[in-house]
């Protein structure tokens, strides 16, 4: 292997592109995922799923399935009810006047989406468990269904839940309607767009899985599962689903192969596996088939929106008005209500000094799998609305898209900036990323090239997306006041062993982000201990203090800050011991490269390992100092973090086929201080790929009866490597002012920025044809129709 792993100890570890220590195991197939685990006596669970989007169940006859050799049992909702557990799949974010229909672990009498769980089989092997599903006879009375979130609110639409008239789960608003309407009354120009934000299927490489091992003697449940947040799952399993005491449940995340949000949520399937283990007294494994992934993993996006941006005669934005129908699907998933509200409406100011904003959102029940957080969660939808409207505003006002953005940016000396939609941006330099991006892409030259190409009948387009995201969610008291039934602080333990080696425990739960590498980099720099001497452990509720997991680009900003705080506590304690050993006062000590010494006398030192040994021996500790050397930190952030940037896409469109070729893609991001540039680039690349997927390829298609038509990888187009150009990335650095590392989040930046950049580029290319908007995914046929209509 090339020398990139030679870290030369601790010096300069923070900020260097160390190769991910996770990768050798992953790429050689040695890593153990949930489905790889085998327990003695293990049996298998399969789940019978409704083939109808909406149906009443008249009866279920499982006698043939139960009689099949190797079947231990077939269970329905009735069996769960009789077992006396709570059996609920709860929603974890409450909005005022929100309708919260019952969501039980299995359907009691009415199915509400294709894939809704009807019964489970437990059998000795997977084949028998699948065979038995075909022997359960369910008498369904099919009912009308509706999948479109706007149509679902029209009078006469089939109701998903009787208690939610018009299928409205919640009616939410933010901003000042009166002030905004007044701004529009005085507008010189109004940009107006109808936008569909297409529904997406997450497609983590590893499907969801659970292996539950219940011990009826001790009453303990060990649940291995594909989770981004083991402690949240333990909490919800305990409180809402299984009713077991929290301390009797241990949730372990083995290697987890991607999530993108889909493994945050608390689904019925993992709870059913655990309950099944309690019933049959054996370990029970369930692994989703790819079909089940499509049918049951919470989908993303699915908005129908009307948006308007008002401008004065100088091209300054004076008001933004947004009206959105956001699909919730058939039930309210774990954090679903937050996504199109506090993660969406609050982002409507974008990077702009916008004096009046009003955003109104209907959360709508539809006969589809629930919709919840998917990479970016609300912020890609908001960015798409804002950045499409800004391009449309440029068109109606005749101002260049780059110039109109610059003219309306919040100025660098205007921070902290309180938006009209509840956020306080702490820092930013938006023109900085815009200027860098325009220079790198050669914006002025491109415009000349574009004009020349048009003369030749060639259609090139350029699209900007100047995005902001609010991530690293955020002071717990604030999110609590907004409806979260969770805290948003993070925990860390930094344990220095007697030999000076270090184990770090984090309440985050990585599933591809590279925490074992980056978190070790943080500690190596903080303690001056060689990177190689530090291990990072995550994802086991039985091992580390309570944490809230990995999602919302929070791990570096909250988990990393918790680790930095704990490491600082370790240094503080070590300093006290070192001062005692050096017979000096603490104030006189310096700490550099892992060595304590009296300032000006670097000859006599106590290294951190020296101090650790003394701390464990405890033969000679200062008065009042406890033995051992470790610290725990629970870090509650002071605010969100606010990464931002400018992304630029250049496309070429084939006028004969409508095919869009992404020629160049440039991302200039500002994610604050960077722990590992290679990992940040990787995160940006992956996010862009998924955002390009949304803009050009991906969409979940339901028919009029709410059947999922795009239910396999033959129909649902995940972007492939050869569809994408080599991405260009660059950065500016505006450190976060309120956390100890100055870091912000990066995991979602690519998906937030890129859909608008790509669609803006397509619309730019098609502008000679009078095209002002085109919905995602921008398929060849849509483009062809736009050019030939």
């Amino acid at each position: 292997m090339a020398g990139a792993n030679n870290t030369n100890g601790a010096q300069g570890v923070f900020g260097s592109s160390i190769r991910r220590r996770e990768d050798p195991e992953l790429i050689t197939g040695q890593a153990k995922y949930t489905d790889d685990l085998q327990l003695s006596g293990m049996v298998y669970c399969t789940i019978l799923r409704s083939p109808y989007a909406h149906a009443r169940i008249r009866s279920i006859d499982a006698s043939q399935a139960e009689a099949l050799d190797g079947v231990l049992g077939v269970f329905t909702a009735k069996d769960i009810e009789e077992s006396g557990i709570p059996g609920a799949i709860p929603v974890g974010w409450l909005l005022p006047d929100m309708k919260i229909p019952e969501h039980y672990m299995l359907v009691k009498d009415t199915t509400r989406y294709v894939g809704d769980g009807v019964a489970i089989v437990v059998a000795e092997d997977q084949y028998t468990a699948h065979d038995a599903l075909e022997l359960i006879w369910v008498d369904y009375d099919p009912l009308d269904g509706v999948a479109d979130p706007h149509k679902a609110t029209v009078e006469g639409a089939p109701l998903v839940h009787e208690e939610a008239p018009g299928n409205i789960a919640f009616d939410w608003e933010i901003g000042d309607q009166e002030k905004t309407d007044a701004a529009f009354a005085n507008a010189a120009h109004i940009a107006s767009l109808d936008i569909v934000n297409n529904r997406l299927i997450p497609n983590a490489m590893e499907p969801r899985a659970a292996l539950a091992d219940y011990n009826s003697i001790t009453g303990e449940l060990i649940l291995y599962m594909t989770t981004q947040n083991p402690h949240i799952h333990r909490l919800l399993m305990s409180l809402a689903s299984l009713g077991l005491p929290e301390h009797k449940i241990r949730v372990i995340a083995p290697e987890v192969g991607g999530g993108f949000g889909s493994k945050i949520h608390h689904y019925a399937d993992e709870a059913l596996s655990a309950w099944a283990s309690m019933q049959v007294g054996r370990p029970v494994k369930w692994t989703a088939t790819r079909t089940e992934t499509y049918l049951t993993d919470a989908h993303g996006r699915d908005h129908v929106t009307h948006g308007e941006l008002a401008l004065d005669a100088e091209g300054r934005f004076i008001g933004l008005r947004v009206d959105t129908y956001a699909a919730m699907g058939a039930y309210l998933s774990t954090f679903a209500p937050a996504v199109p509200t506090y993660l969406y409406g609050t982002l409507m100011s974008g990077e702009y000094d916008l004096p009046a904003i009003y955003c109104h959102v209907y959360g709508v029940f539809t006969h589809t799998v629930p919709v919840d957080a998917y990479r970016g969660a609300g912020r890609p939808e908001a960015t798409f609305v804002v950045e499409r409207l800004v391009d449309e505003a440029a068109r109606v006002s005749g101002i260049d898209p780059a110039e109109i953005r610059r003219r309306n940016f919040i100025a660098p000396d205007n921070f902290p900036y309180a938006t009209q939609v509840a956020l306080e941006y702490d820092s930013g330099n938006y023109a900085g990323t815009l200027d860098k991006a325009l220079a790198t892409i050669g914006y002025d030259d491109f415009r000349k090239e574009q004009a020349a190409a048009r003369e030749r009948g060639q259609h090139l387009g350029i699209g900007l997306s100047a995005y902001i995201e609010a991530c690293g969610l955020a002071p717990s008291a604030v999110v609590g006041s907004l409806g979260a039934q969770a805290g948003q602080w993070e925990s860390a333990v930094v344990r220095v062993h007697a030999t000076g080696k270090v184990t770090v425990y984090s309440g985050c739960s990585g599933h591809g982000q590279g925490h074992e590498t980056t978190f070790a980099q943080i500690v190596a720099s903080a303690l001056g201990v060689p990177y190689e001497d530090i291990d990072v452990i995550e994802g086991d509720s039985g091992v580390m203090p309570h944490g809230w997991g990995t999602y919302g680009s929070r791990s570096a900003a909250t988990g990393g800050s918790a680790i930095a705080s704990a490491a600082q506590k370790v240094v503080d304690k070590a300093r006290t011991i070192a001062a005692h050993l050096l017979e000096a006062s603490e104030e006189d000590l310096a700490f550099e490269d892992g060595q304590f010494f009296v300032k000006g006398s670097p000859d006599q030192t106590q290294s951190l390992p020296d101090v650790a040994l003394q701390a464990y021996l405890a033969h000679n500790l200062p008065k009042g100092i406890e033995p051992a050397l470790e610290a725990t930190s629970f870090y509650d952030p002071a605010n969100f973090v606010f990464p931002f940037g400018t992304h630029i896409a250049i496309v070429e469109i084939c006028s004969r086929t409508g095919h869009v070729t992404l020629q160049r893609y440039l991302a200039v991001d500002d994610v604050g201080n960077v722990i590992n540039p290679m990992i940040v680039d990787g995160q940006v690349h992956g996010g862009i790929a998924q955002g390009v997927g949304q803009s050009l390829y991906e969409t979940a298609v339901y028919d009029e009866s709410a059947n999922l038509l795009s239910g396999t990888m033959l129909d649902y187009a995940v972007p492939k490597a050869h569809f994408l150009p080599s991405f260009e990335t660059d950065r500016t650095v505006t450190p976060c002012p309120h956390n100890p590392l100055g870091v912000k989040g990066v995991g979602e930046a690519g998906t937030i920025a890129s859909p608008a950049a790509v669609v803006n580029a397509v619309v730019d290319a098609l502008s000679p044809f009078g095209v002002t908007h085109i919905d995602m995914p921008v398929t060849p046929e849509k483009v062809w129709n736009a050019m030939h209509s």
Binding site: Q126, R656, T657, S710, F723
Partner: protein, 286 residues
């Protein structure tokens, strides 16, 4: 992703394979397995037995004799795409085979499996049609030969009987002065052809068109032979303009396919563009 129960047979001769198939109408032939096994895992196909012909010697091999190319049914896409013999005698087939799926698929999938499965969006049916391939078939009553134009009956239906096996594909070797091209516009999800055009043209000494052939994948229930386009080109100078007008005026796709990704109307337009592109490239290579 767990198929229903099935028996597995691994005959060592075509004759033995046919016997098993004759005795068991619910059996299916397994070649590369890249179409059959996925549908079995989804339980969309539930054969009670698989007859694995992958190790039958007589179904292997690429040979050239008497002006024609003979390819055993179990020859893989990879072998076809990389065979010097095929590249010389039937470059169109090599080009089409090289565009199927991805590397893993090309190492396992076979020409016989592809043509017998008769997925109209796959890449080989149009090539077989355009090359006027002859398909050799063995059954309980011996062997017979079927022309490609009679082989593809309907969506995933061929002239094969349940107890027959496609054993080899025979293709007349490319003539001097001919050129061919396979141009594919792929579905971004499946990688199958939204529209794939296989073209062959032969030019006379003065450069005019002596003969032509243009066939399509992906646009209808079977591969489509656009014979009217081809015949209208004969005698033309094969200029871009001649090709475009031949395609625009004479291309008609019977019952064009429409789906959630691309409508029938769009596919017809696409066929004109892709078809013309294939013909132009074939001309340039002639």
């Amino acid at each position: 992703m767990y198929p229903s129960k099935f028996d597995y047979h691994r005959p060592s001769s075509v004759q033995e394979a046919v016997q098993i198939l004759s005795a068991n109408p619910e059996a299916k032939v397994l070649a590369g397995g890249h179409s059959l096994v996925p549908v079995m895992k989804l339980r969309l196909a539930t054969p009670t037995a698989l007859v694995d012909i992958g190790r039958i010697e007589e179904l292997q091999g690429i040979g050239r004799a008497n002006g024609s190319l003979r390819i055993g049914a179990c020859v893989t896409y990879h072998e076809i795409a990389n065979s010097d013999v095929v590249r010389e005698a039937a470059p169109l087939l090599a080009e089409a085979a090289g565009q199927i799926g991805d590397r893993q698929v090309r190492y396992r999938g076979t020409i016989g499996g592809n043509l017998s499965h008769a997925d109209p969006a796959s890449d080989l049916p149009a090539a077989a049609l355009a090359l006027d391939a002859t398909l050799h078939v063995s059954g309980p009553n011996g062997s017979r030969s079927v022309g490609a134009s009679d082989f593809f009956v309907d969506l995933m239906m061929t002239a094969l009987q349940l107890d027959e096996i496609l054993t080899a594909v025979e293709i007349p070797a490319a003539q001097a002065g001919s050129g061919s091209a396979y141009v594919k516009f792929e579905h971004p999800a499946s990688g199958y052809a939204l529209c794939g055009a296989a073209a062959v043209v032969t030019r006379t000494a003065d450069g005019s068109c002596a003969s032509a052939s243009l066939c399509f994948n992906g646009v209808s229930a079977t591969a489509v032979d656009a014979a009217a386009v081809a015949s209208s080109l004969v005698g033309s100078d094969l200029s871009d303009a001649a090709i475009e007008s031949a395609v625009n005026e004479n291309l008609s796709i019977p019952d064009p396919t429409g789906d959630m990704f691309a409508s029938a109307a769009y596919r017809q337009e696409l066929a004109k563009t892709i078809g013309a592109q294939a013909l132009c490239t074939a001309r340039d290579r002639a």
